[in-house]
Point group: C2
């Protein structure tokens, strides 16, 4: 476990990314969808072939779940937990198909202290998920709670 990062350690423009790809294998797409998104476009090749994407695609929530894994592995917060406040402007840009390999990155787009609690602040991260050829498949903005660095005892 690495050291926790505090609000004061972040600045607009910083980018965090794990050196990791996650392969959306047919088995993983099926297992996730069977539990969490049981629709024919994710589970049934014949039915999916007749729908808008012409074949099986991964659940959007599966790609979002994988994105969380990749951002956790980017170690953006060091040892501190990622406490999500909300997500805005999430857009599904392209479908994710069996065999696609996902990557994710987080860019700091806002850093602000809390108005009501001097010990805390908020970070806004623009999170982008790409597939192997670099095409963006998902974008979203996360607002997360971060502790401020405790003040040193007075000398």
């Amino acid at each position: 476990m690495s050291e926790s990062r505090f609000l004061e350690d972040f600045a607009v423009g910083q980018v965090f990314a794990a050196d990791e790809e996650y392969e959306m294998t047919p088995e993983r797409i099926h297992a996730y969808a069977a539990e969490f998104d049981p629709q024919p476009i994710h589970l049934d090749a014949d039915a999916a072939a007749k729908e808008i994407f012409g074949g099986i695609i991964a659940s959007g929530w599966h790609s979002l779940s994988v994105t969380m894994r990749l951002i956790v592995h980017s170690n953006v917060f060091g040892g501190a937990p990622v406490v999500g406040v909300g997500v805005d402007h999430l857009r599904y840009l392209e479908p994710v198909r069996p065999g696609d390999r996902l990557r994710a990155r987080a860019e700091v787009i806002d850093v602000r202290p809390s108005r009501s609690n001097q010990a805390r602040g908020y970070l806004v991260l623009r999170v982008t998920t790409t597939r192997g050829d670099g095409t963006r498949v998902l974008t979203q903005d996360w607002t997360v709670l971060v502790q401020r660095r405790p003040e040193s005892p007075q000398a």
Copy 2:
């Protein structure tokens, strides 16, 4: 598989909900987090006890995945696939803890034809996830693509 619903079948104020609860058992919370959100607050009781929520909580993305399951089971689109365009205003309101039983509902808050494609339209659904005591744990607004009803052949 029930009949597909088209844009013309939706109106602001309609509510869809499955008569289903999903229990967030310790095993499910652990299995999801191990794959998709490997942080100590979801996986390690001793570490979680020292953090902001005082014990293990479910990954927010786990609760969101379960929400998708419950909305699919509400049959909001009949047999048509749910084609997500985006998510806005997602807010994590309360933590979800082991043993919580989740429910979800979707309320239609906007219905609009596409300006660029006469065969399609957009629906905005306010999706609310609650736990057993009725407390809201998550809210979010989904924009989804829906086909318009094909015109009847002229008589």
